[in-house]
Symmetry: C2
Subunit: 340 residues, 2 copies
């Protein structure tokens, strides 16, 4: 089969690889129907994360089950499934409390930009899409987002306390931030404010429900949020970048007693204790427990209530993955879908 492998900074190749087989009795193997490139894939692409050895890429996927291990009971060959990028047994105490991203037996999937992929802990990781594989490619694209980018934005919005009556600000206008805008609105937030200074992204933020766009950043950005919220700050802020600047901007934009949900993978972040102590905001973040939200997200997508697949501004055959990486790196594309 063909699959994407990163060899080093800026060096992504599509190569021949072994078709994965069942290894553990809790595995499933799926034929990947759609995959995509994540903002976090750009960290190694840009050399921020160094690779010691070549890495098979991809952790977002929808697909059709082709084979299951002897202990798998929840999915069967032929099922069209969405799975979280985090593997989970969905039965341990941590999973049952809704944090499948930290399953005590879990881990991460890591090679879905390929024609086939092996999904460990299939019963606790995969969710069957009712009605089978949708005919509409846009619905498949939206289901694909549930695997990570939407699920992550959704977690950020939940952690930020998005709900009726609340004003939610979103730091970061990448695909996760845009999905957080969609999520905050879908969760009933009264007002959603997106930080953006790129017209294409701001336009999609508005389409996803943003009521206001703020171009200022840092302290100026936070001051603008306070102006827009009677001097108090937002009730909740989603941080979807992962840098020191974006974290401090998120904290400063939030009112005391409010909530910051941070889902940008932290790079070089070090939070001063006195800033946290004075801010007095609830902070929750980390890898999103997408599995918690999947059934709800699938239902919302199939009913057409949300259309998160709009984040894919480019769709390419798997063979053209290197161009997809370039397009995202150069910010020509918000997010790139790959068709294996």
């Amino acid at each position: 089969m063909r699959g994407v492998v990163m060899h080093g900074r800026g060096d992504v190749r599509v190569e021949d690889r072994e078709v994965p087989r069942i290894v553990e009795p809790t595995d499933a193997v799926i034929k990947v129907e759609a995959a995509c490139i994540c903002g976090s894939d750009l960290w190694p692409y840009r050399g921020v994360d160094e690779l010691a050895v070549p890495r098979a890429m991809g952790h977002e996927y929808v697909g059709t089950v082709v084979e299951v291990g002897g202990e798998v009971t929840g999915v069967e060959p032929g099922d069209f499934v969405v799975g979280s990028f985090c593997l989970s047994d969905n039965t341990c105490e941590i999973c049952r409390s809704g944090f499948q991203s930290r399953c005590i037996n879990g881990g991460f999937i890591g090679d879905t930009q390929a024609q086939y992929t092996r999904v460990p802990l299939a019963d606790g990781t995969l969710v069957v899409v009712p009605g089978g594989k949708p005919e509409d490619e846009d619905v498949i694209a939206s289901l694909l987002t549930a695997s990570d980018v939407l699920g992550t934005g959704w977690f950020g919005a939940v952690a930020a306390g998005a709900s009726p009556g609340r004003t939610i600000a979103v730091v970061g206008d990448g695909a996760v931030g845009l999905c957080a805008v969609l999520a905050a609105k879908a969760l009933g937030a009264e007002r959603v404010i997106a930080f953006s200074r790129h017209e294409d992204r701001a336009a999609l933020a508005r389409e996803f429900g943003a009521d206001a766009i703020v171009a200022e950043r840092g302290e100026e950005g936070a001051a603008r949020i306070k102006e827009l919220t009677g001097g108090y700050g937002a009730h909740g802020v989603v941080e979807a970048v992962g840098t020191q600047e974006s974290m401090l901007q998120a904290i400063a934009s939030c009112r005391p007693g409010g909530h910051v949900g941070y889902v940008g993978v932290a790079h070089g972040v070090s939070l001063p204790g006195d800033v946290l102590f004075r801010a007095e905001v609830s902070m929750l973040g980390g890898p999103a427990p997408v599995r918690r939200f999947l059934p709800d997200l699938i239902e919302r997508i199939l009913e057409g209530r949300i259309n998160p697949g709009r984040v894919f501004t480019q769709r390419l055959p798997l063979e053209e993955a290197p161009e997809g990486y370039r397009a995202m790196d150069e910010r020509r594309a918000i997010k790139v879908l790959l068709r294996p």
Copy 2:
């Protein structure tokens, strides 16, 4: 009148000072019936916080109202009152959301180790004790704790999610940590684990409801908590010290999806973003919104359901405040009550 003034490292004096008068129409002046020395008073005493000018000390107090400003309607001369160390109007949006410690018009009281003190924003800061001044000195001592040390431990326990079925760990065996043990138990926690390696403090922790004492610290301490909780970590952890080590110990002791309530005033803390991201715990802390809890705490104390005044292992006349500071600095006393 007489009052405590800190002149520099290790230099605390009781001096003649002006009796405070009403300045703003929202002020009250109270005769301080009992005050005390806070662990945070030791930061300047030890020279960790440098003083540019001498500082009138004290922020915990119970007392009798002697005078009120023209706009005060909630308290009147003769009332026996407990007040928060944080001043609050108790009407702004932040106060109404339960974060009176960050009142948009608020601040901190700062000179209660004295015979009289002025309380700004009296209506929103003071709570009248039903039935007037208690005859029992131990009840007065317990009411005094509600002003900060108990209220702060209580906030830590609430932020840590203390409730039935939960295991709560407490980092720090100072008076705040001990009050957090009491609070976690009073809030219904199934199991409370206190970190301590001092027998007198461990004994009081047990009296306050601790089910287990862990002497290990740092990573070893966190590992011990995991051993005691089926490998998962505590559901919630209260951090009541304020150092880098104690914060990291608290985070490491908490299960993913759990809650860390940090109430130790942060000194030299810098939290690595990747540690927070991987831990995936909710973090909330800062100055305690004591006012939120005061009516409930007063009721519990008057009913004899909690006896937090036990943290005062030494009671001294105000004139002997310097000895009180020494006793706390040398850890001969857990907490010192001062009688003006």
